[in-house]
């Protein structure tokens, strides 16, 4: 820049000199020109000096700054925990949960009409309850694996390994392998831990088909496509012991799961994820409480295959992706299950046996809106359709449908409304009201107050 100016000034001077040479020789004109040139010279000389000074100044500043830039980086921060053995402690986090429940119906009589009861379902106990306390320990094992243990301590002092898995971190080509006990990748909510649910309980479709949440002891392999559109394909196999399967004392793979997810952004404010899932396993003598035609309690059992497919969709919106002020989340899932095999009636008495086939479905949809920082309101609707099962013993005339009254067609539903307040990222208080018509003949008004506290390492949640 300054060079150009300098050169320009020189050319101007030369031109002026030339012009003065060929100019007419009027003495006063000449002296005027001379003084003009002298003035120009001084001006440019001053300008050049000023520019040179400025450059020198810049050079000093630049070299000083480069010296800073080239100074050795600060020593790395001391590892947390003060070194020694504890430096390798895994990340520890604890979730404390509890609730107060006001239920208009006796929770001991809870049934999802039309569906064989299997695992842990229902709204829990009345009055004050300690929820499940979760303790999670997680860390990288070595450059190849990470490990995660989540222990759930129940209100009844039971302790069980909710998840205990290893996962690879160094496989090539977008492959991930997970092994141990883990929540299956099927559906959307299945992998989400209870403390991250938007309602206090699982949708009815999860309770009826998967016994709340499907965990398996086994292996999962996942492959992520190398595309800008998120596409994930997964397969799992395991011991198949979790509801709707049972332990079968059999070698090999006792359950098969397939799932795929796709997702992307819509503009700067919204994102979505959609998925399809498939679960195939078998039950051997999956027994359940029932009553016969006379009302006497009996035990029945199902043996056969249980195949489920599902579709899930999640959509999240926040203005320009900033979820501090407002956020909206919509999610919906659909599941369809076919169970076919044999049904044993009164296994401890007459023990009659005949064929059985059911085709059942269910879905839920929910929306949660954060209308101001820290406050969210949510609405969920649950719906199930049991359909009429075909029962061989009834078709053959050995028994009547009254002997399987619990399995007669039913369409339970439930509407839940919740409001929660999160004083910080680590605490949440929730109020939930639900009208639950899972029972065939009674409507349950459920009111819950729930607290959730998280201490220890900062958790990171999936989408």
């Amino acid at each position: 820049m300054w060079m150009k100016k300098n050169r320009g000034a020189g050319t101007a001077l030369l031109l002026l000199l030339l012009m003065s040479g060929v100019g007419r020789a009027h003495a006063d004109e000449l002296s005027e020109l001379k003084s003009d040139i002298a003035a120009l010279k001084t001006t440019y000389a001053q300008k050049i000096v000023a520019l040179e000074a400025r450059i020198a100044q810049l050079e000093v500043q630049a070299s000083a700054a480069t010296a800073i830039a080239e100074a050795p980086p600060p020593p790395p921060p001391a590892p947390a925990g003060g070194g020694g053995q504890s430096a390798f402690n895994p990340a520890v986090s604890v979730i404390l949960a509890g609730n107060y429940a006001n239920l208009s119906q006796d929770p001991a009589t809870y049934r999802i009409a039309g569906f064989m009861p299997g695992a842990d379902i229902g709204p829990g106990e009345r009055s004050f309850n300690l929820g499940e306390s979760e303790l999670t320990l997680a860390a990288n094992v070595d450059p190849y694996f990470l490990a995660n243990l989540t222990v759930a301590i129940g209100a009844d002092d039971s302790i069980h390994a909710e998840e205990a898995y290893f996962k690879t971190t160094a496989l090539p080509a977008g492959l991930l392998l997970k092994g141990g006990r883990f929540f299956s990748g099927i559906g959307y909510l299945n992998e989400v831990h209870a403390h991250a649910w938007d309602f206090i309980d699982q949708p009815l479709v999860y309770q009826a088909f998967l016994g709340r949440q499907y965990a398996t002891d086994g292996l999962q392999v996942k492959w992520l496509a190398p595309t800008d559109l998120f596409m994930e394909f997964g397969a799992e196999t395991g011991n198949g012991r979790h509801f709707p399967g049972t332990g079968r004392n059999r070698n090999g793979m006792n359950s098969t799961t397939l799932f795929m997810h796709a997702g992307n952004d819509i503009g700067d404010s919204a994102s979505w994820r959609a998925g399809l899932s498939w679960l195939d396993q078998r039950a051997d003598n999956r027994s359940f409480d029932s009553v016969d035609g006379t009302g006497a309690p009996i035990l029945n059992a199902f043996t056969g295959s249980s195949r489920l497919w599902g579709a899930d969709f999640v959509y999240k919106w926040a203005p320009l992706g900033n979820s501090i002020e407002r956020q909206f989340k919509f999610q919906a899932e659909f599941m369809h299950r076919i169970e076919s095999g044999s049904l044993a009636f009164d296994t401890q008495g007459g023990n009659l046996n005949g064929s059985y086939r059911s085709s059942q479905s269910g879905w839920y949809a929910q929306g949660v809106y954060q209308f101001r920082p820290r406050w969210r309101i949510g609405l969920r609707y649950d719906s199930l359709h049991s359909g009429d099962p075909s029962i061989g013993l009834v078709a053959a005339g050995a028994l009547t449908l009254a002997d399987f009254s619990e399995l007669a067609a039913s369409s339970p539903d439930r509407t839940s409304l919740m409001l929660d307040w999160s004083p910080s990222e680590f605490s949440r208080l929730r109020l939930q009201y639900a009208q639950d018509q899972a029972r065939r003949d009674a409507r349950d008004h459920q009111l819950f107050l729930q607290y959730l506290y998280s201490i220890g390492a900062h958790g990171a949640h999936k989408f």
């Binding site: 810049l58 500043q61 630049a62 700054a65 830039a69 080239e70 980086p73 600060p74 790395p76 921060p77 450059p143 996962k167 971190t169 496989l171 090539p172 080509a173 977008g174 492959l175 991930l176 492959w223 992520l224 496509a225 190398p226 595309t227 800008d228 559109l229 998120f230 596409m231 994930e232 394909f233 098969t256 397939l258 795929m260 997810h261 796709a262 997702g263 992307n264 952004d265 700067d268 994102s271 979505w272 498939w278 195939d280 999240k316 320009l320 992706g321 900033n322 979820s323 501090i324 002020e325 920082p373 910080s424 990222e425 201490i455 900062h458 958790g459 990171a460 949640h461 999936k462 989408f463």
Partner: protein
């Protein structure tokens, strides 16, 4: 069952057919590191910014689109110091990408080469949203950008050795232009020394420290904790006794609290880009600092 499996495999195969890309793929967690990566990487890199200037980087979701970008990234450029702790670990774990795991060459943390301010002497969540390794919002001091640029240049030459000369040349050119720009900003911003300001979150600490702005108070009583009515009332009393010249707000901050305070203490709200893209003028790193200095000078008049 077989049909399901076949359809499933066919879909997976379809997804596998994807065009190869030669450029080094960089996933930057924030716009400033994306911009810096472009400055040094030029046309040899393909940069994706995980967040925009209108998002609070503490609160970002591990969106499917980000997992997909992490899957094919050759390098993740993050801030570090736990700024991205709520979402980046999930991206890394879910990416199925061995190259970008923490500790490897494909993972770069800007704060690893910086001396952070406000390293807490005790760490407890009752103190709010504090970062054990120090305040991570270090990009607002341009001298820090220079340090990160140097380390990032070195990392790029290491990762993509065939273009090492290209990165070194661009890195050196950037350093030259940046140092001249810093001198220009520091000369222009001299009148800002000692000017009393109010901030929202403690993420303008590095800017205040660099320009010598005097941080009188923060609208958040503790980092990440929204103010109560009582606290704001106290703040008004305090600021009427010792007035602030201006209230600094980042592009991603909601304007309500700052506007409310502005009316009562008669100090203008200055909206700062905070990072590249936060204002129309902040098109790149140079524009970011040009614009911040200009806006501060405008309000200080």
């Amino acid at each position: 069952m077989n049909k399901t499996l076949l359809a499933f495999l066919a879909l997976a195969a379809l997804a596998a057919m994807t065009p190869a890309h030669a450029a080094l793929k960089i996933l930057a967690t924030t716009p400033e590191w994306a911009s810096l990566s472009r400055e040094i990487g030029g046309d040899k890199v393909d940069v994706y910014a995980a967040t925009s200037a209108f998002q609070d980087v503490h609160r970002v979701e591990a969106k499917p689109s980000l997992v997909a970008r992490a899957r094919s990234a050759d390098l993740v450029v993050a801030t570090g110091a736990q700024l991205e702790i709520g979402w980046l670990p999930v991206l890394l774990q879910e990416s199925g990408n061995a190259h970008i795991q923490a500790g490897g060459n494909g993972y770069f943390e800007a704060t690893s080469v910086l001396r952070l301010l406000e390293v807490p002497t005790s760490v407890d969540r009752s103190l709010g949203d504090i970062h054990p390794q120090g305040n991570p919002h270090a990009q607002l001091d341009p001298h820090n950008i220079a340090l990160v640029a140097k380390a990032l240049t070195a990392r790029l030459t290491l990762l993509d050795a065939s273009n090492a000369a290209y990165y070194s040349a661009r890195g050196a050119d950037f350093q030259n232009r940046w140092q001249i720009a810093i001198a220009k900003w520091e000369t222009a911003a001299a009148p800002l020394k000692g000017v009393p300001v109010v901030v929202i979150h403690r993420d303008q600490v590095y800017l205040c420290h660099w320009l010598g702005l005097a941080e009188l108070a923060a609208i958040e009583p503790k980092p990440g904790v929204p103010p109560t009515a009582g606290y704001l009332a106290q703040l008004v009393v305090k600021l009427n006794a010792s007035p602030a010249k201006m209230i600094l707000r980042n592009a991603y901050n909601d304007s309500k609290a700052a506007d409310w305070l502005s009316e009562r203490v008669h100090a203008p709200v200055v909206t700062l880009a905070y990072t590249v893209g936060g204002t129309p003028e902040a098109k790149d790193l140079f524009g970011l600092f040009d614009d911040m200095v200009n806006r501060l000078l405008g309000a200080a008049k």
